[in-house]
Symmetry: C2
Subunit: 423 residues, 2 copies
């Protein structure tokens, strides 16, 4: 659709939102079988159209240098037959998850005989704004629709051709599966003003989910008139307690930091109890050093570790997403908790300890979406937590916290069955 | 605290919010016993200070004419020994509710042995803005604190002395119960600018709940940088289906409309199936007429009911909160559903029918917080639904929908217990 002037753009956004709301009314009452049929047909059709998807992806890759993408970024944009098979596999996996809609979450029969049921229902229309790889287009559509919502996708311009080709496939098989035509809509313009128009349409759109850099998330949160689930990346901590198993402390620290550095649940800060710092920090630092990690620490850390450089206040707050880690020696569990609540981002924080009371106190007092006891921070993930797929990891406390799977994309209603009850 | 200039006001609000956050960190890990002890001591002390509360209330009542309060409004402001006893009883009842904090809402042991628990935790700090009666001060404080949250109360100026006296009691007994001093804070200024300052402090305040007129709620929703639970009043419908029991249809319609007219779950609109309108509408209209209800209807309604006046488009959207009801004759269940979703406010809608398929279709397709099958709309209420007390009835779909009790004032965190798991 050609968008020539501002007014046209605004009207286009309104039409998309209205079509989404109309589709959501139908989607909300579809059986799981219909949604699963659509997911499976989509998966099959994506495989069948592999060649066309690769052609469209090639157009994005050609343009990548013009968008100033680095080689690593362009690589994440790239589709291959294997990656297309992974996308199809992802749709199949969402098809295998239970249909969340209609679940009776709670029920009680009141003294007057009224049978009150709390029933899971879709939110309605979800506006999903992302900058990321083409597979996110398919994943997000699958999760939103499986949870009974219509979705408006606003992908990055870098992946415009790939995303369009994927959404075309999802829409081509919709009619045959009995799905409304506008369950999944891809915004056809990359005009940034469109995002602002959608964020004002709270009459039609029930939730906005931005997935990308902090700037995008802040913009969406500031402008949106509907609720937003925010997925900030994390300044995740590993705290090595006085009673930590030394080998476990080393393995969990190295895994949390190094297993994949560029993700939100990778550790950025290490805290270690003063009683064990002399013994445990040197081997941990050596293991991190072998992985190329630069340590930035306080005076005590610098005393123990020759290569450590001085940390400034900003380092303790930083999400490096790369080979740097801040380190502090702390005098007590309570100090560790206080520092995590002050400097952390409420994402994922781990303690390594054999002390039950310390573990329980840490779990209770650290105000984060996920608290790990003797496990890597890298486990804060929808798949690892058993939620099936996830659309992101929320750092909010309202509605959804931590990994957001199908249930987190739903609401509920009360349905009360009576036989003539009046007050 | 004297507030002289704008900067002082802003600093005052910041201090209140910071104290609340500090208190919330302590409150979040208190046992239920401590919170219940505080509630019971507060109840006893309110009774003991009945005379002082009546004196302070008298000051509000004296000023009521200056605030332009009607006699009915002043009556709702009025305390009496019985009303103070009711307030104390309300605190006792919240003390008897189970402590929601620490509940393991879900858990699973993952294939790698990681024991993942989803644990209920407080939201943190709640900013509660209300215009209403003094008992709301005590109710709101009790619910927020029992659910582990610190609360900042911003009451209407009309009840300023009464609310202050109640909060003083709550705070006087705090230390003896082992509660943090700033769990409950009443904003000491009635300067409206203070509300704006608090709504900007999303770093300290996790949730805003406005309770009052639509203007207040819209202002809070527009200005707040933190999440808001909105409690709009309702345009609630009763739909009398083709297969309705005639007597039940009459009783439910009259009860929904007349049992208490000024509340959000009172019915405002009646829809009746064309097949039964000739037989059922006249007796229903007569019964409503006996209660002094004016009917505003379409042509068919006017044909059947001599006293009915013509309804305009606005009448079908109106929340009369008084002795007026809009009426329409509809050709089908689907038409009724469509009209409710278009004209209703998503609050509470009832169907009267003996037809199982119609009941199930209505429950599924009507997009409202509560759907009543053969029961009065007036049952959409925290007490009636078995939630214990409620802080309001949410018309949002995000986080909390329908009656908001203790659980709706909470969040959750994931706690994962491992024995050295890494990825």
């Amino acid at each position: 659709m050609a968008v020539t002037v501002e007014q046209d753009l605004k009207e286009y956004c309104l039409e998309v939102a209205q079509r989404a709301q109309a589709a959501s009314r139908q989607l909300g009452v579809l059986t799981g079988a219909v949604k699963n049929d659509w997911l499976r047909r989509s998966a099959a059709e994506l495989l069948r159209q592999t060649e066309r998807l690769l052609e469209e992806n090639a157009r994005d890759l050609e343009a990548a240098p013009d968008f100033g993408l680095t080689e690593a970024q362009a690589d994440r944009l790239k589709l291959s037959p294997e990656r297309i098979a992974d996308i199809a596999q992802g749709l199949q996996q969402v098809a295998m998850l239970p249909n969340p809609i209609g679940e009776i979450m709670q029920s009680s029969v009141r003294p007057n005989g009224l049978d009150v049921q709390k029933v899971r229902v879709p939110l309605g229309v979800i506006f999903f704004i992302y900058e990321s790889r083409p597979n996110v287009t398919a994943d997000a559509a699958a999760l939103c629709v499986k949870s009974g919502n219509a979705v408006i996708l606003r992908g990055g311009k870098e992946a415009a051709h790939s995303s369009r080709a994927i959404v075309q496939v999802l829409n081509q098989v919709a009619a045959a599966a009995g799905m409304p035509a506008h369950a999944v809509q891809l915004v056809s313009t990359t005009d940034r003003a469109a995002v602002g128009h959608f964020l004002a349409l709270d009459q039609y759109i029930n939730l906005a989910i931005p997935r990308g850099g902090e700037g995008l998330i802040r913009r969406v949160a500031a402008e949106a008139r509907m609720p937003v689930i925010k997925h900030f990346s994390g300044n995740c901590h590993v705290y090595v307690d006085r009673n930590a198993d030394p080998q476990m402390a080393l393995q969990i620290t190295v895994n949390s930091k190094c297993q994949r550095m560029g993700v939100c649940n990778a550790a950025e800060s290490l805290l270690i109890h003063a009683d064990v710092a002399d013994n445990l920090l040197p081997p941990i630092a050596a293991a991190l050093g072998e992985q190329g990690i630069e340590l930035r620490g306080d005076a005590k850390v610098q005393e123990l570790i020759a290569q450590a450089v001085a940390a400034d206040e900003q380092d303790y707050r930083a999400e490096f997403l790369g080979p740097i880690m801040s380190v502090r020696v702390v005098d007590s569990l309570e100090d560790a908790i206080e520092l995590i609540n002050r400097y952390g981002s409420g994402h994922t924080d781990a303690i390594v300890t054999c002390d039950l009371a310390a573990a329980r106190r840490f779990a209770e007092a650290v105000d984060s979406a996920a608290v790990m006891i003797n496990a890597s921070t890298r486990f804060n993930d929808g798949g690892e937590f058993g939620l099936g797929a996830e659309i992101g990891i929320s750092t909010d406390k309202f509605h959804a916290r931590g990994p957001c799977g199908l249930n987190e994309l739903t609401s509920y209603k009360y349905v009360a069955y009576g036989n003539g009850q009046v007050r």
